[in-house]
């Protein structure tokens, strides 16, 4: 009797626990990610927005509220627009050749090759090399007096180029480092997608006498279009955030050249935040940079979905 009574009392309680388990546990399982994301993603985002509304220097304890003052100052700042322009220019010069090269490279790797795994793995080596090492070595290759590139150009009777001095040459140099680092990575992503394309398509195309290039253009590219879209978006976001390459290419200082000729948005942000310690202004520019990335990604997405529909 007493036993029954306890069971009766425990009955609905156990049901509650059971329901909690079924409904609640999944949230607990995914909670670690969201707690980390809250701590390292959402919180900094909101805190940065808060800081951006203040006169906030790292060196002083006082933080004055100035509303949108930092933002209005930013839109009048020629150095900001210059950095934005440089970022776009470097992004175009680096992304377009990079993706085309990656496609060609993936196509080659997709053929029957001796030592296939070796070739595929080597494509990734530039990517796993530290960006600092890449930037330092390329800065030497692009050296004015003793650089390899100028030496090779000299063999063809071309005058020495002062790579850091001019806008176009510095953009080419910085883009080269980005291309070097990311081509193999994108090639492997393409390669993975290409493996899913039915072999029969290629076989019948070969029977019909299509060349390798025609096969790439007519079969591979349409078949892996979703992957191409993915890489375009990822490279766009990456391209907007380029920092280490122009920073180390400059050798000295954070200004990206004597006239800020290769200072990217991220580098300008770095200069303001960690050169002048003006965290308020830096936070404002990082928010604007974030919005620019969102807009560019949205445009990207719009163009691509239109392409897909047609």
């Amino acid at each position: 009797m007493t036993q029954l009574a306890t069971e009766e009392r425990a009955g609905p309680r156990r049901g509650l626990l059971h329901r909690l388990d079924v409904k609640g546990s999944p949230y607990l399982y995914i909670a670690p990610f969201f707690i980390l994301f809250l701590g390292f993603g959402v919180f900094p985002l909101i805190f940065t927005a808060w800081v951006s509304l203040h006169e906030w220097s790292l060196l002083s304890e006082e933080h004055t509220w100035i509303g949108f003052g930092n933002y209005t100052k930013l839109f009048d700042d020629p150095a900001f627009w210059n950095a934005l322009w440089n970022t776009v220019s470097i992004w175009v010069i680096s992304t377009v050749p990079q993706l085309v090269l990656a496609l060609v490279l993936a196509h080659i790797l997709n053929q029957r090759l001796r030592g296939q795994t070796f070739w595929r793995m080597s494509a990734l080596i530039p990517n796993i090399t530290s960006v600092a090492a890449v930037a330092i070595i390329f800065s030497q290759l692009f050296g004015r007096d003793y650089g390899l590139f100028n030496w090779v150009l000299g063999l063809f009777g071309i005058d020495k180029i002062d790579w850091t001095a001019n806008t176009w040459s510095s953009h080419v140099a910085v883009s080269t480092m980005i291309i070097w680092r990311w081509t193999g990575y994108n090639a492997l992503i393409y390669l993975a997608a290409m493996q899913a394309v039915p072999k029969e398509l290629y076989d019948s195309a070969s029977l019909d006498g299509a060349s390798s290039f025609q096969q790439l253009r007519k079969i591979t590219v349409p078949a892996i279009r979703p992957t191409i879209i993915f890489t375009v978006i990822i490279s766009t976001i990456g391209g907007m955030q380029v920092l280490a390459e122009p920073l180390l290419f400059g050798g000295n200082g954070l200004t990206g050249g004597s006239d800020r000729q290769f200072q990217t948005l991220a580098l300008y942000l770095y200069e303001v935040a960690f050169g002048r310690f003006d965290f308020g202004y830096a936070s404002a520019s990082s928010w604007v940079m974030f919005l620019i990335i969102v807009i560019v990604a949205a445009i990207n997405f719009g163009i691509i979905s239109r392409l897909r529909r047609s």
């Binding site: 399982y29 670690p32 707690i35 701590g39 007096d145 001095a165 004597s258």
Partner: protein
């Protein structure tokens, strides 16, 4: 299992919470007798390598790690480490051009008088001691070297250009910077293969500016636009560049470093610490470099201090090491081996300094040359943003050198760029 899943997020939250306040160590004097690990962060060449070994032999419980960064990065990193209260080394060196920014926040550093630094005050000239102190009298830094000025030149290249090579005669070539530029034109006219007269505008500009009684700051005001001495330093450096004297080796880049060994430039204004730098960069060029008087006479550029940030775990042990490193006996050793000129007054009459000749620099009497320039020196006040302002001015000179702008255009942009910093 249910219980376990609940624990994980709590544990993570707890980890985050402890990570956020992990640097509040409170009292950090414990265990100085046990094994102590000290990190010393410097830049350029302090010449401390052998001294660390010696100190570790004297104090077997102490382990010293050195951390060397480029000058600008070193000071930027330190500012960030102080602001976030974590990451600074136990001893942080500060250079003259940056120290103003740090003496303005003395609460981040140990006031060394608390550990008895007043007892050794007499080692230094008064100005050196004062620059290392805050306005309210807290002493945060012990002086290491001072930056007396001279002119380093390659006697082998001078010979090829048909110029005198003896240091007394070379000094006579350039009592003023204008005459230095004239000498440069003669050097260029001789067309010595692969070489130009001077390295580039950075070092020349800093040296001329260092000779002025007032530099970028007059009191708390930045006077770049109104101080004729700043404009003069800019104009003379620009003139040297437009006259084609520059090897276009930007200071502190790999090309510049290579230039010392390859002899791509024949002269370089030499604060005393530059001797150490040249010796490390051009190990095989011994006897080719020599030292003459600097145009314009005297002046100062650089010199450093050792500080002990409060966030360190062993501040007392760090002070003991800093005190030992800056003691006269050690400063003499650094000077003799590397050339960094001591800021320790008592040493200037010491034969170890006075009669010292540096064999690397063709037996130049460097002890005499630099003690003359340090004792007559009046230090210039460098404000908290001096480092950043100089970067803008040097960028302006680089634009002229790269042929992007005329000196006038460049100066106008310098003024706007400097204004943007303030």
């Amino acid at each position: 299992m249910r219980r376990f899943t609940a624990v994980v997020p709590i544990a993570i939250a707890a980890m985050l919470a402890t990570a956020a306040c992990g640097s509040d160590d409170g009292d950090n004097q414990a265990a100085d007798d046990g094994p102590v690990s000290l990190t010393v962060a410097t830049f350029g060449e302090f010449g401390y390598k052998e001294l660390y070994d010696e100190y570790m032999k004297l104090h077997p419980n102490v382990k010293i790690t050195e951390r060397i960064t480029k000058t600008e990065d070193h000071h930027k990193n330190l500012a960030a480490h102080l602001a976030t209260n974590t990451g600074a080394a136990d001893i942080e060196a500060l250079e003259e051009g940056w120290i103003g920014q740090f003496t303005a926040q003395p609460s981040k550093f140990v006031d060394l008088t608390e550990y008895g630094a007043n007892d050794i005050k007499a080692q230094w000239p008064e100005w050196k001691w004062n620059v290392g102190a805050s306005k309210d009298g807290k002493v945060i830094g012990l002086g290491t070297d001072a930056g007396g000025m001279a002119m380093c030149y390659r006697s082998d290249l001078f010979k090829k250009a048909g110029l005198p090579t003896d240091r007394a005669e070379v000094s006579k070539l350039w009592p003023t910077w204008e005459q230095y530029i004239e000498t440069g034109k003669k050097f260029e006219a001789a067309k010595v293969a692969g070489a130009h007269f001077f390295d580039g505008p950075t070092v020349m500009y800093r040296s001329i500016l260092g000779q002025a009684p007032v530099g970028l700051y007059d009191g708390d005001n930045v006077v770049v636009d109104s101080n004729p001495d700043v404009k003069k330093a800019f104009d003379l450096s620009a003139q040297a560049v437009t006259s084609g004297l520059s090897a276009r080796a930007e200071a502190w880049t790999p090309a510049w470093n290579a230039g010392f060994a390859k002899g791509t430039f024949a002269t370089l204004a030499c604060p005393s610490w530059m001797m150490a730098y040249i010796q490390t960069q051009a190990k095989d060029a011994s006897g080719k470099w020599d030292i003459a008087d600097v145009p314009g006479g005297g002046g100062n550029w650089g010199g450093s201090w050792l500080t002990v940030p409060k966030q360190g775990k062993h501040t007392k042990a760090a002070y003991e090491l800093a005190k030992w490193l800056t003691a006269p006996e050690q400063e003499v050793k650094v000077f003799q081996k590397y050339g960094n000129f001591p800021s320790t007054l008592t040493l200037y009459e010491d034969p170890a300094i006075k009669d010292f000749v540096n064999p690397y620099f063709n037996n130049a009497p460097v002890g005499q040359i630099f003690s003359k320039s340090v004792t007559t020196m009046k230090p210039q006040y460098l404000g908290p943003k001096a480092g950043d302002i100089n970067t803008q001015i040097i960028n302006g000179l680089t634009r002229i050198e790269q042929g992007k702008q005329t000196p006038d255009q460049s100066w106008q942009q310098v003024l706007t760029d400097v204004k943007a910093l303030l």
